[in-house]
Amino acid sequence: MIATETDPAPTPSPEDGYQVKLQVFEGPLDLLLFLIKKKKIDINDIPIAVITREYLDYLSRKERINLDREAEFLLMAALLIYIKSQMLLPREQPLEPDIDPRKELVDRLADFQKIKAASTLLREKEDAMSQVWKRTVLTAPLPEEDLDLIEVSLFDLAESFFTLMKRKQSENPRVIKGKEISMADKMNEIVAVLKARGVLDFLEYLDAQGTLEEALISFFCLLELIKARLIIAIQEQLFHTIKVWPRKDAAPA
C-alpha cells in the first residue's frame, strides 16, 4: 500500500499501538490520478516524462507498496515508459496529429476518474441509507432453517435421476422423438411452476416430463438453477423424496 504525502502517518502513540491509518491507493490508476492532481496537470496533456519520474519515485519506496499489487503498479510504469518511447521515436512518416500515443491512457484515466466520482456519490447515499431502517429484519425464516431439512448434494440428485431414468427406460423403450426444447425455455417453465406452487417434488416433476430428452433437459436446468442459487434442493428426511424451493434470498432474475 502506498501512502500519500498529503496524509502522513500519525506518530503512533503507545496506547493505540501501531494502528496507522493511511490513504491507500487501490491501484496504479489511482496513484496516477493523485500525481496528476498534485502536479496540477491537465489530464489531456500529460507530460509523460514528469509523471513517469514521479510515479517511479513512489514505486521505489518499497515500504509503502503493497507487494500483492506490485506487479500491477510495475505494469503501469512499463506502459508509461512505452508511451514516452513512442513519443520520442523518430519516424519516417510523422505520427498523424490526432493519433496521440497517450490517448488510450487518457481515456482510461478519464473513465476511472468517473468511477471514482461515482464511488464518492454512492458512498454518500450509503451513509444516508445506513441511518434508515426498514422492516426487512423481521422476515419469515427460510424453510432451510427447519431442523430436519437436509440440503442435498449433487450425488443425491444424480441418484434420484438415475432411478427415474431406469424406470422411464423400461416404460418407454422406443426411440425418443426429436422435439427441440431449449434450456432457457425449460428454466423459465421451472421458475414459473415454482412461483405458482412454491415447491416442487423433484422426482415427480421429472417423471411428468413427456420424453426422456425433456426429462434430461429438466434435470440439467434444475442443476443450473441450483448452481445459480435461485433454487434450493432439500430432502426432508433420509430416503424421502427431494423437494425444490425457490431461494428466498435469491436475487430476482
Binding site: D111, M129, W133, A251
Partner: protein, 178 residues
C-alpha cells in the same frame, strides 16, 4: 374512493418488500391510475410532514416504510448493532464500475480499475449486490455481471436510471480538481 390513501397505507404497511405501483393497480382494479398516483403522492407527503418517526420511501421500484434518520441510534440499540457495515472502498469502486458498465465481465472491470477485481466481485456476489446474468460471446465465454434489486435498495435508488448522471459526475470531478 374517499379512503384511497388509507387503503394504500394498509397495502404498504403489510408489504415487507417494496410494493410496486403495478401491484397496487392489481388490487385497486376499479380505481383510475392517476387517482392512485395522486393518493400515493399525498400519502408520502403526509408521512414526510408529520411528526412521526416513520416515512414511506421509494426504493428498488416500489414503496416501503422506513424509519427517519433521527431514530437510527435507538433502532441500533434495540437490534444491538454497533453500526451498519459499510462496503470497503475496493468493493464500492468495483460496484460502481459494474453499475456504470453493466453487463460487464471480470476482466473488463479489472481493466477499468487497473487492479485485479476477482475477489471484490466475489464479495459483491456473496452480498447479492451483483448477479451473474450470463456469458459474454467472446473467447473463454466469460461471465457477465449486473447489479441487483438489492443494490438499488442498498443505496436508496428507485431504478438504475437514478444513478448519478454523467453531469453530476463531471461536476464532482471539477470540484475536486479546483
Amino acid at each position: 374512493m374517499d379512503n384511497l390513501k388509507e387503503i394504500i397505507d394498509a397495502l404498504i404497511f403489510i408489504s415487507v418488500e417494496p410494493l410496486t405501483a403495478e401491484k397496487m393497480k392489481e388490487v385497486l382494479t376499479d380505481v383510475p391510475e392517476p387517482d392512485i398516483a395522486q393518493a400515493l403522492q399525498e400519502l408520502v407527503a403526509r408521512y414526510e410532514s408529520a411528526d412521526g418517526a416513520i416515512r414511506i420511501i421509494q426504493t428498488a421500484g416500489g414503496y416501503v416504510f422506513s424509519t427517519k434518520p433521527a431514530y437510527d441510534p435507538y433502532v441500533r440499540r434495540l437490534l444491538q448493532i454497533e453500526r451498519k457495515k459499510k462496503l470497503s472502498s475496493q468493493a464500492l469502486e468495483t460496484l460502481s464500475a459494474v453499475a456504470y458498465h453493466q453487463p460487464v465481465t471480470q476482466s473488463e472491470i479489472s481493466a477499468i480499475r487497473s487492479v485485479d477485481s476477482t475477489y471484490a466481485l466475489h464479495t459483491l456476489l456473496e452480498n447479492k449486490l451483483i448477479k451473474i446474468v450470463g456469458r459474454k460471446d467472446a473467447p473463454g465465454r466469460p461471465l457477465l455481471y449486473r447489479t441487483t434489486e438489492k443494490f438499488l435498495a442498498y443505496f436508496g435508488l428507485n431504478a438504475i436510471e437514478d444513478l448519478p448522471s454523467e453531469e453530476e459526475l463531471i461536476k464532482l470531478m471539477q470540484e475536486e480538481n479546483s
